[in-house]
C-alpha cells in the first residue's frame, strides 16, 4: 500500500513536469521529510494481559465451553471447561487463526491449561 502511494506521488509530477523539471525534485525532497511517514503498522505490542484477554474472549465465544464456570489461567480445557480432545483441536485451530501462528501437533498436545496457552503464544515470536 505504501509502495503504490509512493509510486503514485513520484509519477504524478513526471507527467506535469514535461515543461519544467523542478516540481519533480521538490516532490522527492518532500518524500524524504518525516511529515510523509505514516505508521500503518502501529498496533500495540502483544503483552501478557492483551494475549490473555484475547484468549479468554475466544474461549468465551466457543459454545461448548461450560458458560457457568469462570475461566482462569489455571482452567484446564478437559477437566474444567468440559472440552474433549476434538474440541481442543478446534480451540488450537482458532488460536492459530487469532494469533497468526502455526502450532505443531506435539506442542499442541502439551497445552493443557489456559495459562500454558498464554505462555506458548507469547513465546512465539511471530504472534500478532
Amino acid at each position: 500500500m505504501f509502495r503504490t502511494s509512493l509510486l503514485r506521488n513520484l509519477r504524478a509530477p513526471l507527467i506535469s513536469s514535461s515543461v519544467t523539471r523542478k516540481p519533480l525534485v521538490q516532490n522527492v525532497v518532500a518524500l524524504s521529510q518525516p511529515l510523509f511517514v505514516r505508521n500503518y503498522s502501529g498496533f500495540p505490542p502483544l503483552t501478557r494481559e492483551l494475549a490473555k484477554e484475547r484468549i479468554l474472549e475466544l474461549l468465551e465465544g466457543y459454545d461448548k465451553v461450560d458458560a457457568s464456570k469462570e475461566i482462569t489461567e489455571e482452567s484446564s480445557y478437559v477437566q474444567d471447561l468440559g472440552l474433549d480432545s476434538l474440541d481442543v483441536v478446534e480451540v488450537v485451530m482458532e488460536l492459530e487463526h487469532e494469533f497468526n501462528i502455526q502450532i505443531p501437533d506435539n506442542e499442541a498436545d502439551s497445552l493443557k491449561t489456559v495459562g500454558q496457552t498464554i505462555d506458548y503464544v507469547l513465546s512465539q515470536e511471530d504472534s500478532v
Partner: protein
C-alpha cells in the same frame, strides 16, 4: 494402526481443508460433516473399525483437497450471513 494422535491430526487436517472452501454452503457443510462424523464415532474402541474409518477419512481428505482446489477456481459472492472481516481463508 491408527493412534488417537493420528486421528486428531486427521481431524485437524480435514478442518483446515474445509476452511478453504470459498463457497459458504460448501464450507459450512464440510465443517459440520467432519465435526458430526468424528463426534458420532467418538467412543469407538475396536481397532479394526477405527482403522477402516481412519482410512476412509484419509480418502475424504484427498477428496476435500480436490474439491477445495476446484472451489477456489470460481468466485462466489459473500452471503449476508457471512461476516466480512472473517480471517479464515
Amino acid at each position: 494402526m491408527a493412534t488417537s494422535r493420528q486421528v486428531l491430526s486427521l481431524y485437524k487436517q480435514l478442518l483446515e481443508k474445509a476452511y478453504k472452501f470459498d463457497n459458504y454452503n460448501f464450507r459450512e457443510y464440510a465443517k459440520r460433516k467432519i465435526h458430526d462424523s468424528f463426534k458420532e464415532h467418538k467412543g469407538l474402541s475396536g481397532q479394526e473399525q477405527i482403522n477402516s474409518l481412519y482410512n476412509s477419512g484419509i480418502d475424504s481428505l484427498a477428496q476435500l483437497q480436490r474439491q477445495t482446489s476446484i472451489s477456489q477456481m470460481y468466485t462466489f459472492e459473500k452471503l449476508v450471513v457471512e461476516p466480512l472481516d472473517k480471517h479464515h481463508h
